[in-house]
């Protein structure tokens, strides 16, 4: 089914996608002329596939559940913010705060992202094939951020229990973020994420892992019985 944003209103298009009749077999949708509109494909909750042909504005695919969304273009601030499950694949670049606060699902970005990628992420897997800007994985709580390029200043500032895998250079680390030794389990996590993004698994050896030094937040494993 084709949805043309030049002909139909954004609200109408989103409503159509948000209220899929589960008995129908309509599973594949295409959106044309996104023209940088905000909140395209926000709040989808069914297992459908949507391809957006062009560049989108803010909060594209926000709060996504189950849907598989492909963007043939760039996305604005907050792509897949607060995503719960499903997949969002951006073929171009992403702006700030990609995958912000997202609880689950997979976000793949073929290009670069600007600052604060994965800010406060809570379980999402983000794979960026290019580089990320400053303050990425800021206060990241859970999930994995894979960066195939470089990272800007203050990577992983105030990070909790999320993992950062990076192949390129880190301009600087944020407070309480440190390099970790990758064990078999970590390697398996990275392997499956690279596979999801169709990246050669042999690249694993070129990645480093970063995580929390656990000195900043009020959790000390030695005191675990006290909590």
């Amino acid at each position: 089914m084709n949805l043309n944003l030049k002909k139909e209103s954004l609200r109408k298009v989103n409503e159509t996608l948000q209220s899929i009749d589960r008995k129908s077999n309509k599973k594949i949708f295409k959106i044309s002329n996104p023209d940088g509109n905000h909140a395209i494909c926000a709040g989808l909750k069914d297992e459908i596939e949507v391809t957006i042909d062009g560049h989108t504005g803010y909060y594209c695919a926000g709060m996504n559940m189950n849907a598989n969304i492909i963007v043939n273009g760039n996305v604005g601030t907050g792509v897949a913010e607060n995503m719960m499950s499903g997949t969002v694949h951006v073929k171009g670049n992403a702006s700030q705060s990609a995958g912000a606060t997202a609880h689950g699902g997979t976000l793949i970005i073929d290009g670069d992202t600007s600052s604060r990628c994965g800010i406060s992420m809570k379980g999402i897997d983000i794979i960026v094939k290019g580089s990320v800007g400053h303050m990425s994985a800021f206060m990241a709580q859970s999930g994995n951020l894979v960066i195939c390029g470089d990272a800007g200043d203050a990577l992983g500032d105030s990070i909790y229990e999320a993992n950062i895998f990076i192949k390129g250079k880190v301009k600087s680390l944020g407070a309480d973020c440190e390099e970790k030794k990758m064990n078999k389990k970590d390697q398996n996590i990275l392997r499956s994420l690279l596979k999801k993004a169709s990246i050669n698994e042999s690249e694993i050896k070129n990645f480093k892992m970063y995580g929390s030094a656990r000195k900043l937040y009020n959790f000390n494993i030695d005191n675990v019985s006290e909590y």
Binding site: D35, H55, G76, Q96, S115
Partner: protein
Amino acid sequence: MCGIVGIYLKNKKYNSQLGKFLTGMMNSMATRGPDSAGFAIYSSEKKKKYKYSVCSNTDQVKEISKKLSKQVKDIKVKSISDHLIIETAMKPKKFIEILKNHDELSLVGYGSCIEIFKQVGNPKDVVKNFSLEKFSGSHAIGHTRMATESAITTDGSHPYSTGEDECLVHNGSLSNHNNLRRSLQKKGIEIKSLNDTEVAAGYISNGLIDKKSLKETLLDGLKDLDGFYTFISGTKNGMAIVRDEIACKPAVVAETKDYVAIASEFQAMAHLPNVNSAKIFEPEPGKVYSWGK
């Protein structure tokens, strides 16, 4: 919030459509700044002539023209909405003094190729009032304002111009503008309003007076201007953009072989020719990008 836009045409074939392009950009940014709007248009330089963009609070244009032509010989007055574009060979120092005797007129900007218009109201109405669509030129800069630092008045609207053929639009806010205003005023830079952006415009003028390039001045600004900002600055030769090191305030650039467009959001450029095949990127924090002759 505020919306900022700028467009620089590399290919002259689009010059006659400059106003049309900017109208689309401003209309789409109306949601980011519904309080007031303004724009600066750069067209070809008129040798030995100056254009003074003036906001008038009276509709008696003919009388004003008469009065002025008694004081200034070769004067040509064009009236658009509540603005007058006064063309004369008289040099700025002298003419600005004459304008000061006219309480009903306030100078918005001047130079050999710049024209500036700004007005309180929704940007969609403002661009209509000034018939922006009909303008042609080489480059243009626009602003839609959501007021934060000073009142919703024409004085508080962007673009700000504190020097010949200069202009500045700003998305963000500055926190050290009071101190900076005082020190710039001591150096002789005229700053009329209580607005933070006008201080930044004055800062740039001061740098240019000190024979620094626009790029150098903007780089110095990263140290001296405290606050959040994405600036687009225009001169008769072109335009530049800079974002502060934190880069909270958005900006997108789209560059094709024919033009360079800058906007707070991509949707402001979606109507531009071949934009989907343009090179699209976000300016990096603390880096100055410039385009021009």
